[in-house]
């Protein structure tokens, strides 16, 4: 089974290829604010470099946020359109869960992602999210959680992520949508 992994929640585009949950390739592209320029070309090139065609892919894993609103949307629209048109499985994972799983967290730790104004985070123990994903301003976050151990390295381990999702049900592509967490002004 070939899996295509897509992550676009921050300034990086990460595209991974797995065969039976073993990593065969990964590509990271820095793409300051222009994911659209690199996203499909990156998928196209990683497939080509590994002698695969998009029609050889059986499953999509996509990080559906939180993070950059536009970044997440682009990853999600590509992932769900691929799954819908190719009629293949699709699974989602949040950016925070993906980072936690990549880091194998046993003792209580905070996993966080910064953006230019604040911090998305959740608390983990024994590889389980024991809180909800929240968004706080940098100040509020520091005031409340400065003494906790904080994982914010952003490193993704796509094998661990794929293994974690192994027994999850595939989703209906129509229902795949981004998680934003941070509220926008007009909706407050």
């Amino acid at each position: 089974m070939n899996t295509l992994f897509i992550s676009t929640y921050n300034y990086l585009i990460t595209i991974g290829l797995l065969k039976n949950n073993k990593k065969i390739a990964i590509k990271e592209i820095k793409s300051d604010k222009s994911h659209s320029i690199f996203l499909i070309p990156s998928i196209e090139s990683i497939l080509k470099e590994n002698n695969l065609d998009i029609h050889n892919i059986n499953e999509i894993i996509v990080i559906n946020g939180p993070g950059s609103f536009t970044g997440v949307r682009l990853g999600v629209i590509v992932a769900k359109t691929l799954a819908y048109t190719l009629k293949i499985n699709i699974k989602t994972i949040t950016s925070i869960d993906a980072l936690a799983i990549s880091n194998n967290i046993l003792k209580r730790k905070i996993v966080s992602i910064k953006d230019n104004k604040g911090v998305y985070f959740a608390i983990y123990k024994n590889n389980k999210n024991i809180s909800q994903i929240k968004y706080l301003s940098k100040e509020e976050f520091d005031n409340n959680y400065i003494n906790e151990i904080n994982i914010d390295n952003g490193v993704l381990d796509i094998e661990k992520i794929a293994l974690f999702l192994k027994d999850f049900d595939t989703l209906n592509p129509h229902n795949v949508k981004p998680i934003y967490v941070k509220e926008i002004e007009v909706l407050k």
């Binding site: 659209s36 320029i37 996203l39 536009t70 949307r73 819908y84 048109t85 129509h174 949508k177 007009v186």
Partner: protein, 467 residues
Amino acid sequence: MISTYQSKDIKDIIDLGVELNPKFKELFNINNLPEYENIIVYKEKNKLVGFLHYLNNIEYIEIINLIVSKEKRNNHIASFLINNLLENFNKKIILEVKESNLSAINLYKKFSFNTINIRKNYYGNESGIVMERNKDIYILGVESSCDETSISIVKNGNIDIATTVLTQIDTHVNYGGVVPEIASRMHTENFTLVLEDLFNKTALKLEDMDAIAVTYAPGLLGSLLVGLEFAKTISFVYNKPLIKVHHIAGHIYSNNLNEPMEFPLLALIVSGGHTELVLIDGDYIFNVLGSTLDDAIGEVYDKVAKVLDLPYPGGPSIEKRALEGKDTYKLPIVMNNDELNFSFSGLKSAVINLIHNEKQKGNIINKNDLATSFQKAAIDQLVRKTRLAIKKTNSKRLIIAGGVSANNFLRAEMKKLAEENNIKLSIPKMKYCTDNATMIAAAAYPLFLKKEFSNYNINAESSKRLY
């Protein structure tokens, strides 16, 4: 009844063939056709009265014989046979016909066959005409530049095969205008659903498309990006060329859905972001004659609606109120000069000042009457400048394009102007005036013919100009 021939039909086919061409039996080995040749037959009460013999190449179909018995001519049997062929193959078709066979040549012309070559004295003292019919081109259009998620299939640049438009207006109306972030979110949630709905309306499949066209500019950046990535993904999966289309080109080419535009023509472009007079000399050849110096016409409608406390969007609100009112308020005649540029900020200020002054005097504003007076003044400027442009360019054809072309008062005034100047007018059908993907697919067609395809590294642009 039309069917594929069976071995029991062979004798009748040969008899009918020989009736028209004594050498038929020797020329065509009907008894033993190669597998790439086939015959469709037309029977009446089990009697074979016509047949179409063709060769199916990888790249094209060649019609070898199209024969109808003499007593059954003028019964459209040949047309039925050709139609059957077109329904079963979307490929280029070629054929050769005697130059004296005018009725056949005219029939082929009706089916969009064009002469591509003449074989001199091919039949002794008569020439053979080689005719060709290109395959039908199906373009999938994708549009999401503002608050409509739309996908459409257009055939040959001017026939709307199927369209789905999902509007978000019911959501945005709660915020008094389109909220860009909400629009982007809704596009992301809805695109695959819109795609599914579209293909429920047609027997065509995504595989049948020849290209994927998408609005890349101008508009709300976040919304454009979602549509662009969606279109790139489809193009990538189905290995179909990607065509980027400018939203305003879409509005212009929505006129092709009436009947194909003939150039040169004068275009009045009226929308929320545009107010321009453009001379169009050919496909994508634009000469701007004049444009607004400040607000666009759609923008000024929205702003005036806001000061009159009328609901968003302002265009339909004001138009509706104006139907109930009388032109009682005196507003200035702006840009009463020999220029082809527009200006609407003076008119807008006059409305605001008028409301302010009336309030100070303790008078109640009659919104219907003010809507009438404003609309009359605004549209009058469009009509005056268009009249001037017709005179200056000596144009014989006029088209209107853009969201504001949905305004019925503008449509009526432009019809009068066209009659007064004896010129041909085209205004898009109402359903193509608001944003839709049909116009995007239509605008992509001339780009498809020129093979102006895009790579997957193109980006959306929020404020790129067409000309």
